[in-house]
């Protein structure tokens, strides 16, 4: 029969408000719904049953469900940055002005050219892609996969940035109840009475679950519970909040929809709750299962519960003539609801031999024809249901009678929603009586105390009659996995299990024949349950079919793994505030603002942004770096060194402690002096370096690399707290307390002497420090040099760092003072042959590799890494060691380039004998310079190495001393 209006019933619809009409668009058509509609109910109310196309065969699809389990009615919502694919029409509240589109069809939903796949479906059984596209092998990567990927996928990915805000929030509770139906609210009430902190989460916008729909008096019972709970200060009731996953230690993640309906209100669109629950009660209800009969995917074949939801909740007639097919009593409610709404119910097809419970009796009393022991042989109709051919359920599908109808309401029984229970390790048992998997109370998810921290109640626990006094007795459900029982292949090949991914009974049976015994393997081979609905309506039917094909009981087959999220979660909700400027904390030195206003080109160093250089005018970065270096070498420059780690180490055992941490002696350092030190890990590898200053008899200040500040402080505390807990040493990380400015160049002292101060710089020798006042600011001046020039590093309280920097630049203008960045610093240290942690080291390098033996104490009995450095591999004369490399071509050899050796290794690759660790153009020397680690390099001075380039060219470099500039160190004194 054809579909006829009215699609919106004259009366009823407990969730809608007919007074508020909401216009919206679907595939460009202007339609109207009412307040309280979901997108699905609004479309049905406009006679739009066809809402999408299936993934593989592009079969026409209408909604089969009314909630989160919906596999078919997936739409694209919104435009531009608010475009969202694959949104379930059954759970999306209708909003005025909504723009919606169908998916996976071209040129239109009604006439989809790719539906040719359906005609060819006998050619596309399970595993088709695996079998067909395997040879020739290279074709997979370069031809088959790209083509298949292009034609795959349901909705399109959004291309614009999401303009909305999202946020997270933390909550804590003694008890979290997931599910606001009668079971959940009852559990919450019982717990609340004892004073526990209780949070109740309900995914829908309204409370009560199925109870108000299914039971007269249901709404009153729910209202009474809500009245009790909302009066309690210890109870939080949260609607529109979907519990997405449960993790160890009662960590529950939930998504609250706040402004999905009104993205312009300035509110966060969604909020991700991160809840610590002492205990969790899952009251997540149950999902109805489809029945597997031929062409059960034709639009208009719906779950019985969904049909009565649309009638009772939304006042929508999915059809005018509703045929019910079932294996249980519950579906009779749909027949009664349809009849009460004035719709025709031509018959109830019951697969069971007998149906004499209260509900079947009521149906008969209402004059509805009930056919027991009967099944559907086949659905007639293409884009919508036209009729059903009936047969003997125990037979092979011989048609007994054909009944015209435009909707078929099917019920194959109910499956408890066990997802949250299972996420965190709760086990299931198969209940043969009820034909369902339900939580095994003896094997719950365990908390930190080894006891169960989740309990389950209501329909989620398999208790389908959990509404107490509202219930009436129901007859037993009869498992029906195939309809009719002895259906031939011709029919089984048209019985859909997974509606979104087009997996049929015959596909699962084929997988079993081909040897797929594990349900997990079968899932991946057939794609059963792998769609965006994650098999909410298909899994149990699928594994029942698999069990039958394998001739084993269902519990032996088991279920696939339930993983979060319960329904898809928007990535923006997970990212929450961490986007744009707040994507990551950006660490800024006290002088950061000056760098910005002076055109610094920044580079990331950990979470810091440090000026790489300061290009001026039309300068590129390379030109700026060259200019900065020449300015320092020829005059004076300033570097913002505030990011360097500064750790205070104090106590009677501090000297002994530092002697263990550093490879050289720190305990003997006189007060007022500085010493360069190397720090190794237990394996002997160099992990950090820096200058240590002795502040007083019992205190030292340890400078670390920028990246090492927190790590080395942690390293120190680790040893102090775990190994040498009885040593009297305290540490404090003072890194951010001070701004530190390097003033370097032959005119550095001249500049500093222009500032009023209490420190006599002329009397401050190299590797000494002094404390006093400079330009009215309390300061520590360290005479140390990483550039090779006369250099002072000045530490002042961070709050006054910018002030000092500005004074220096004002006073030094006529000296040509120049701010220099990290790259100039890098080049200048390389000119001097100074190593850089992270360039010359990579976690496998010991100080001896770098010619730093002078900084390793021979006298000390021990230091961290000492024994490791004595292992044969570490003392091997053939280790790669630090040398300089002079490029023969006058071009810079790329950093990381390998020096090849004769012959090839076992993998057919060229043998190597070294690699470039730092490589720059030196503006000071007017030529390329490089440092490299080369097999026993220092004994091979003058040798020429080959560095093959990816282009095929070979660059050549000569081994030389790594100190390229001022070997005698005379420039340290200006």
């Amino acid at each position: 029969m054809t579909r006829t209006p009215p699609f919106r019933l004259a009366q009823g619809g407990r969730l809608i408000d007919r007074a508020f009409q909401l216009p919206f668009r679907f595939d460009g058509r202007h339609l109207r719904g009412v307040a309280g509609d979901t997108l699905a109910s609004a479309l049905l109310a406009n006679g739009q049953m066809l809402m999408g196309r299936s993934f593989k065969y592009h079969r026409p699809r209408g909604p089969i469900a009314s909630g989160a389990e919906e596999p078919n009615a997936l739409l694209s919502l919104g435009q531009g940055g608010r475009f969202e694919p694959n949104q379930r029409a059954t759970t999306t509240p209708l909003v005025a002005g909504m723009v919606t589109r169908s998916q996976n069809c071209w040129p239109s939903l009604d006439n989809d050219l790719m539906a040719v796949n359906d005609w060819l479906s006998p050619l596309f059984p399970a595993g088709f892609y695996y079998k067909t596209f395997i040879h020739p092998r290279p074709f997979w990567k370069h031809l088959f996969e790209p083509v298949i990927r292009r034609s795959a996928g349901l909705g399109a990915a959004p291309t614009d940035a999401d303009p909305d805000r999202y946020e997270q929030a933390y909550a804590f509770a003694d008890l979290v109840v997931v599910g606001g139906g009668i079971a959940g609210l009852t559990a919450a009430r019982d717990a609340a009475a004892s004073g526990q902190r209780v949070i109740v989460l309900e995914q829908a916008p309204h409370w009560g679950g199925r109870t108000p729909t299914d039971h007269p008096g249901g709404q009153a019972a729910i209202d009474a519970l809500l009245a009790d709970l909302s009066g309690r200060a210890n109870v939080t009731l949260r609607r529109n909040t979907m519990a997405t996953g449960l993790y160890d230690h009662g960590y529950l993640i939930a998504r609250e929809a706040i402004a999905d309906h009104d993205p312009n209100a300035g509110l966060p669109r969604q909020r991700l709750w991160r809840i610590r629950a002492g205990h969790v009660v899952t009251a997540t209800g149950a999902l109805e299962r489809p029945l597997s009969f031929a062409c059960n995917d034709v639009p208009g074949v719906m779950l019985a519960s969904a049909v009565r939801d649309f009638i009772i909740d939304y006042g929508v007639a999915p059809g005018q003539s509703i045929l019910v097919v079932t294996n249980n009593d519950d579906a009779y409610r749909t027949a009664l609801a349809a009849r009460a709404a004035g719709l025709d119910v031509p018959a109830i097809i019951d697969a069971r031999p007998l149906a004499d419970g209260a509900l079947p009796q009521a149906a008969r009393a209402a004059g509805i024809r009930v056919l027991t022991g009967t099944g559907i042989a086949k659905v007639k109709g293409g884009k919508h249901v036209e009729a059903a051919a009936l047969c003997d359920q125990s037979g092979d599908g011989r048609v007994l009678e054909t009944i015209a109808c435009d909707v078929i309401a099917m019920s194959g029984g109910w499956s408890p929603v066990v997802h949250l229970w299972s996420h965190c390790g709760g086990k299931l048992l198969w209940d043969d009586q009820a034909a369902m998997f339900r939580p095994d109370p003896d094997r719950p998810p365990l908390g930190a105390d080894g006891k169960g921290n989740v309990t389950v109640t209501g329909a989620a626990n398999g208790d389908l009659a959990c509404a107490g006094g509202l219930e009436q007795p129901e007859g037993a459900t009869m498992p029906v996995w195939v309809m009719p029982a002895r259906a031939p292949y011709r029919l089984r090949a048209k019985m859909w299990l997974d509606f979104q991914n087009d997996v049929k009974v015959s596909d699962v049976e084929l997988a079993a024949r081909e040897g797929y015994a594990s349900v997990e393997h079968t899932k991946r081979y057939t794609t059963l349950g792998m769609a965006t609905d994650q098999g909410k309506v298909s899994n149990i039917n699928g594994l029942a079919i698999l069990s039958a094909a394998l001739d084993q009981p269902i519990p032996q087959t088991g279920t696939t793994t339930f993983r979060p999220p319960y329904t898809p979660l928007t990535l923006a909700t997970i990212a929450a505030e961490a986007r744009g400027e707040a994507f990551q904390p950006l660490r800024k030195t006290p002088i950061h603002g000056w760098h910005e206003t002076h055109g610094a080109s920044f580079e990331p160093v950990g979470q810091w942004r440090r000026p790489y250089c300061y290009p001026q005018g039309a300068e590129d970065r390379h030109a700026a770096v060259n200019r900065e270096i020449l300015a320092v070498r020829g005059g004076v420059g300033t570097l913002d060194a505030s990011t360097l780690g500064k750790i205070l180490v104090k106590g009677p055992d501090a000297g002994r402690f530092l002697d263990m941490l550093y490879t050289n002696m720190m305990s003997t350092l006189p007060v007022g002096k500085c010493r360069y030190g190397l720090m190794c890990n237990e394996n002997g590898f160099l992990m950090d370096d820096g200058v240590v200053a002795r502040l007083s008899e019992d205190s030292w200040l340890c400078h670390t690399t920028t990246g090492g500040a927190e790590r080395i402080h942690g390293h120190m505390e680790d040893w102090l707290q775990c190994e040498w807990w009885d040593w009297k040493v305290y540490t404090a990380n003072l890194t951010e307390q001070f701004a530190q400015i390097a003033v370097a160049g032959p005119k550095a002292r001249a500049l500093l002497e222009r500032l009023p101060g209490t420190i006599d710089l002329a009397a401050l020798p190299f590797m000494h420090w002094a404390e006093g006042e400079l330009a009215g600011i309390p300061a520590c001046i360290f005479r140390i040099s990483f550039s090779g020039e006369l250099s002072y590093e000045i530490a002042v309280p961070a709050g006054r760092g910018l002030e000092l920097w500005q004074i220096l630049h004002r006073e030094g203008r006529d000296l040509g003072i120049t701010a220099y960045g990290t790259e100039a610093m890098h080049v200048m240290r390389a000119e001097k042959g100074f190593i850089m942690i992270g360039d010359e080291t990579d976690g496998t390098i010991i100080p001896q590799d770098l010619g730093l033996d002078w900084a390793i104490s021979k006298k000390k009995p021990d230091y961290i890494g000492k024994r490791a450095q004595q292992r044969p591999h570490m003392t091997d004369a053939n280790r790669w060691k630090l040398v300089g490399i002079e490029s023969l071509s006058n071009k810079v050899i790329p950093d990381g380039a390998h020096a090849v050796a004769p012959g090839r290794n076992a993998n057919g690759q060229r043998n190597v004998q070294g690699r470039i660790t730092s490589s720059y153009h030196s503006p000071t020397l007017g030529k390329p310079i490089a440092m490299a680690l080369v097999r026993h390099g220092p004994s091979r001075m003058g040798e020429v190495l080959d560095f093959p380039m990816p282009s095929g060219d070979v660059m050549q470099g000569r081994i030389c001393d790594p100190v390229f500039y001022d070997k005698e160190g005379s420039r340290l004194n200006g």
Partner: protein, 172 residues
């Protein structure tokens, strides 16, 4: 338009002194030098002007007006004479924000994994605000949040964002 959940204000002029010592041995001397009772684990004591926070079993944080800092440093050094101890001025290393208003707790609950309804006055909680380290405690009318100077802009930004109008955490 709804009101913002809380005012977020950067506070300047506070000095902070890190004290590390054996609190059992030096507790009395420290209490005298700071003029405040030694806080128990996770506690913070205050006289309304100065506060003394418990940072770890051997670390305290003294917070006081900048003007009193030099004097306090001196008193502490004196009180700890002969003790193995460390006193360091950390005033410049920190950024301080006051989050005040009836829904200040909501602002913090969006950023820190802390059970705010159970955060009693006199408790100092070392935690994080989104991706940066932070500590906070109750002050009249709201909470005081301290973080690192280098991430002050980030901390100010996420606090202000979390305080946007109409974004309270009460169920709707």
């Amino acid at each position: 338009m709804a009101e913002i959940l809380a005012q977020v204000a950067r506070i300047e002029g506070l000095a902070m002194i890190t004290i590390r010592a054996d609190l059992t041995r030096a507790g009395d001397a420290l209490a005298e030098a700071t003029g405040l009772p030694i806080p128990g684990p996770t506690g913070i004591t205050t006289d309304g002007v100065r506060s003394l926070g418990w940072m770890s079993p051997d670390e305290l944080l003294l917070i006081l007006p900048q003007a009193d800092k030099a004097q306090a440093m001196q008193s502490l050094d004196q009180a700890l004479t002969g003790e193995h101890a460390l006193v360091a001025d950390m005033s410049d290393a920190r950024a301080v924000f006051d989050v005040t208003g009836p829904r200040a707790d909501d602002v913090i609950a969006k950023l820190a994994p802390v059970d705010l309804p159970r955060l009693a006055p006199g408790t100092l909680r070392r935690s994080r605000a989104a991706q940066t380290a932070a500590a906070f405690w109750r002050i009249p009318g709201g909470l005081r949040v301290i973080g690192f100077r280098s991430t002050a802009d980030y901390l100010g930004l996420i606090l202000s964002e979390a305080a946007r109008p109409g974004t309270g955490l009460a169920p709707r």
